[in-house]
Symmetry: C2
């Protein structure tokens, strides 16, 4: 690939981006699409703007960019939660690091690469991209110290920034915990694997166990019940009925809904169960003996103080660790009900099965990756399969095939990965939706690092030296050298990958094709004019965090070796900054959050990228016979690893355990201000109402828990 092909590719992408961004700025002004582009706003307050013939609606504008630019971090925190802030911090971190890397690499390293060999340079447009990589520096060059210096600058800059980010995010996490005074989850422990006995129901056992061992702090509990298939069908039928008849539904929405609509029982939509006393009595009379059979071996147990709940959740309750398993309960909105019905004892074997399935999936995904990568190397492929020549004879065709097609194919294949990983994470048995998303995020991250980064490099190495048996690629001692040889020459592909996958994904993110289609379907096929009848989406951290981290990895590994990728990356990160701020402010609804638990993933991946970069650089300096540069790289690797270990010791425990002091201070404050009684009263209904809202009202039945609670209060 030469400069002109690169320019073609970037030209196409820039044009596509510009068109889509303008299209977005028009689409977002259409009142009929408010539910697509203002999901977040809709969930907060009902939009009143209903001016259908507004001229300016059809003129592209940049107002959304300005709005997204000026939003403060506090605003984002209030709307998107800590996770959104953490994600944007990762983007900002990338912008900062790659700005520094860009300056030093484009002004110091790139000229050295270009003039690294005594050769006759063609016209710049015809120049191959490899001329700008470290491949062009001659062996034993005394200018390799510049590459080593650039490596030092980038690594130290990244580490310093990482340290301050980790520090500030740790503080933010503590502040987030402190600020969430009204969260019922702090008082609640989820107990699973309650041992079965013939004599007593699960509910009685839970009550006995906790009054016995946590008598001073136990408040009440709420059993979780199996929701049968028939009931599920009934709910689905009712949902569809409501959707079709939605004009009659009271148009309360969002948080107001959960307080007015359901609690009073005056809405027609949820008739099956409501926590009103008379219903409870009927229900407990109706299926009193039946109820015991429907109990799962799981319960939500409420405590008097947050600290007591924390203690109960962290302790090993019994000499048998497979019974009375306690965890801090997730938030009511965050809880993943379906996994609570599943017996706890089968999760360990499910986890192993999922691990095996994941490994198989990742392995067999190599096939499309190899196919993609082989398209980039058309010239090499032509040698092996001469019949391709006929297709690629036209210059434009060739540029399209080698510059654009591979990334598009890869992108299509990659789009099925997140749903598959989400299924894996669901089966693994996560009790919270945020935990499931986080687990998916980790899986997708492993997947993209392996299948986009390593697989491309290794197939590149295999195609390049196809006389060398592929079997040899797995040899651990040759891997650094293989990487060192392959990374600079794969850089071309990575540049196009950033252009297509990166830039295009951002346009896609803005336009939101899937909700747009859904909206059209509802509006024109179902003739349904209500916006709120179909769900709003939460931020797709499980796809976006891995993408940003993958681009970070590409940026780090290519920075010193093939600096030409950096401008494209910087554009990507800058656009990502604007787009994601806009999406967080306007589109996505924050139903649940993990409280910044994405940061350790981001930190660890960045350290991994840094160390990998340094190892590859070590290999390159070795190949280029520069013992001084190699010698200086080794202490850098050691320092980076030590820095990581320090951060792990200093910050990471806060992301695993809640600090006791923070929790005790919160308890004390609430006790002094007399808010405790109010919290106690809201506790059991908090989970019940949310379960009801999400169609899991069978999971919790308020039988007895109220009575018990009033005894304690």
């Amino acid at each position: 690939m030469n400069i002109s092909a690169l320019l073609t590719s970037s030209g196409i992408n820039t044009a596509v981006c510009a068109v889509l961004f303008s299209l977005y700025s028009i689409l977002r002004k259409q009142p009929s699409l408010v539910s697509v582009y203002f999901g977040q706003k809709l969930s907060q307050v009902r939009s009143k703007r209903n001016d259908p013939f507004w001229f300016q609606r059809f003129i592209p504008s940049a107002s959304w960019i300005v709005k997204s630019w000026v939003a403060s971090e506090e605003e984002l925190f209030a709307i998107g939660g800590l996770d959104a802030v953490v994600f944007l911090r990762a983007v900002v971190f990338s912008i900062r690091v790659f700005s520094v890397a860009g300056v030093i690499c484009l002004f110091l390293v790139l000229p050295l690469n270009y003039f690294g060999k005594e050769m006759e340079h063609k016209h710049i447009r015809e120049e191959q991209l490899s001329v700008f990589t470290i491949e062009n520096v001659k062996e034993g060059s005394r200018w390799l110290w510049a590459h080593c210096l650039a490596l030092y600058v980038i690594s130290s800059c990244a580490c310093i920034l990482l340290y301050f980010e980790y520090k500030s995010i740790t503080k933010m996490r503590v502040a987030y915990i402190t600020a969430s005074h009204s969260h019922p989850s702090h008082f609640t422990v989820l107990v699973r694997a309650i041992p079965w006995s013939r004599e007593e129901s699960y509910s009685v056992r839970v009550a006995k166990f906790f009054t016995d061992y946590y008598s001073s702090s136990y408040l009440s509990h709420q059993m979780i019940y199996h929701s049968g298939a028939v009931q599920k069908l009934m709910i689905d039928a009712e949902k569809i009925y409501n959707m079709l008849k939605s004009n009659t539904v009271d148009q309360h929405y969002g948080s107001r809904l959960s307080r007015c609509g359901f609690c009073g029982g005056n809405s027609t939509s949820f008739k099956i169960l409501s926590p009103e006393p008379e219903n409870v009595r009927t229900m407990s009379c109706l299926d009193g003996p039946d109820l015991r059979q429907k109990e799962c071996g799981a319960a939500l147990v409420f405590f008097r103080t947050r600290f007591a709940a924390l203690v109960a959740s962290e302790a090993l309750q019994q000499p048998n660790p497979m019974s009375w398993v306690t965890d801090l309960a997730p938030e009511p909105r965050d809880i993943y009900w379906s996994n609570l019905y599943v017996p706890y004892r089968i999760f360990w074997i499910r986890k192993i099965a999922i691990l095996v399935a994941f490994i198989l999936f990742v392995t067999f995904f190599l096939i499309p990756v190899v196919f993609t990568q082989s398209l980039v190397h058309l010239d090499k492929l032509e040698k092996v399969f001469p019949f391709i020549k006929g297709i690629t004879e036209r210059r434009y065709m060739k540029q399209l095939i080698s510059g654009y097609l591979p990334s598009v194919i890869l992108m299509i294949f990659l789009s099925i990965v997140p749903p598959v990983m989400m299924v894996f994470s669901t089966l693994e048995g996560s009790i919270s939706r945020s935990g499931r998303k986080r687990s998916t995020c980790i899986k997708v991250l492993y997947f993209v690092i392996w299948n986009v980064f390593f697989a491309n490099i290794l197939t590149e190495a295999a195609i390049d030296h196809y006389q060398v048996s592929i079997m040899k690629l797995g040899d651990p001692k040759t891997i650094p050298n293989q990487l060192a040889k392959a990374v600079p020459s794969t850089a071309t592909f990575f540049v196009t990958y950033v252009l297509t996958s990166g830039w295009a994904s951002l346009s896609c993110e803005l336009i939101q094709p899937f909700p747009l289609l859904c909206n059209s379907f509802y509006r024109f096929i179902l003739r349904n004019k209500d916006d709120s009848s179909y769900g709003s989406y939460t931020f797709p951290y499980h796809t976006e965090v891995p993408r940003v981290l993958l681009f970070g990895l590409l940026g780090f590994t290519c920075s010193v070796l093939a600096p030409l990728i950096l401008p494209f990356l910087l554009v990507y990160f800058f656009l990502a900054y604007l787009v994601f701020r806009n999406q967080i402010l306007d589109v996505y609804v924050t139903k649940y959050q993990s409280g910044g638990l994405y940061w350790p993933i981001i930190h660890n991946t960045t350290i991994f990228s840094l160390v990998l970069t340094q190892i590859i650089a070590l290999g390159v300096f070795g190949i280029k016979r520069s013992p001084i540069a190699s010698g200086f790289t080794i202490p850098l690797i050691i320092c980076t690893l030590l820095f990581n270990e320090y951060c792990r010791q200093r910050f990471h425990p806060v992301f695993k355990k809640t600090p006791a002091r923070t929790i005790i201070d919160m308890d004390r404050e609430d006790e002094h201000s007399g808010r405790m009684e109010e919290i106690y009263q809201k506790l059991p209904s908090a989970y019940y109402l949310m379960a009801e809202k999400l169609g899991h009202q069978q999971a919790l039945r308020s039988k007895g828990s109220r009575k018990r609670l009033s005894n304690y209060l």
Copy 2:
């Protein structure tokens, strides 16, 4: 090596063993050696037997074998603690498994191996050992199913036994916790990394912190003070003085000593500090301002209930995980004082340094191993270095060099390993002596598995095929095949290793050469007739557990491939059973114990051995072209791994955390019986007295703590 060389070697070893065992039975009857062979008894009660001219003293007898055989497990538990029982269980487990393996392998597999090829057999004495290994089975033999069956029988037998052992040891651990009512450590939390402040002393900060956040359960605390070099010298001088003047020392010993000798302050040996009120007052006057400077950032904090201490030890106290680090305190006898003086913040970097040092040590230890292994293959060595032929021309010489010398050399080199590992574990910052020993045990285990098992096999492979470059050995894909080729042919060495290292180490263990020498030195050089003036030893789990596990690994891996090792191993385990029971009953003092924490190590290593055996068998079946046998081995590997995961889920948490229910029940029982007050009163002095006894009395000064305690009581 042929059968006659093996018989020579085993003859030498049996003779040596018989002589040493008889020698031991005489030596143990000598009254002057009572302190060497009855350390355990001496620590319990003073021996009164003083009949110097007793005729039977010089006749060997088997009485100790009978006594050691009839001792019950309860007796062993009472004397040696749970660790001793766990260790003996591991030996019994090995006897059981290898009995089964011996029966099936000697009667089914061995004949198949011997007649595996159509060949002319020599006289049995001249037969090479390799004829008895799987090497002798011809390719594609239909008798390989027998090997596969043997593998199935051994694996299932091992897994079933492991399951029941793990289950019963878990129960024993819980029973051990429940039984230790009087242990002060249950009420005590060790706080390290107390943050420094200019205004307040550490002691004030600790008091403030715990009265603030654990007000309902905090009882008192005791600071830990730096003990200066001068003071240490003074103590050492005093120790030597006491030792030389030991005739004047009151001959109280053991547990009585700690109550009468020191507490009353009437002994001359420890004048520096005693917890008597007048001394405390003088001391606090004397070095009141000085004391603050000597405070370490560490303290022992006492709680009202065991559960409160458990909660405080498990919680993350602060948003900064590097300050206020809490752990359950070890027992007073178990605490490792020297590491408490070291600032907590440097341990993380020390741990990394130790890890690096450990890896380097293990790597460079390969040199003597390679040298040793090359001696076994004299015939191959003769081809490479012809000058050796002159030495090895005499038959007896050759048998000695190839059959006995290598193991002896290896044993000498190996004897320096445990002390080095102990130093590593000390520097790592373990707060308890049992924890330090356990950490050493793990290090020694890694060391012997790598340096005795793998290094021997790999050098064997390298010598055997020295045309193959050694570089290729590290290739992960060829390792199973390499192992499959090398293990049967290394079996010869392993047999001699069992004979020399195993049998000889047991004789050595019985005779106790080092204490014997010390005893002679004291008695004949220093003319000191008191037995109790030099220390008694604790059981060397850190050398014996790895040894037993290494022999288990050798047994498993060789069982199906080279079954001739099994009789020798069985003899070793049977002798070990007798010898270690005797040693636990008579010799070693149980000063501290880990409460069965060695079992997870034993379990995991056994599973590792099993899986390795199965992988090697898979390789062998592959080489022998038996797809059915290979096919049946794969599900076996999967089942073994699943079994291990199940055990990890089902039993392991009890070895990491104390079950809350057990602890709460104990608290409740003590409260009902009114024993709590008594325990509270003993708490601070328990640690003080033990520190005093061990020469660390500067570490704890009783200033203030008593006063505070009396306020609370």
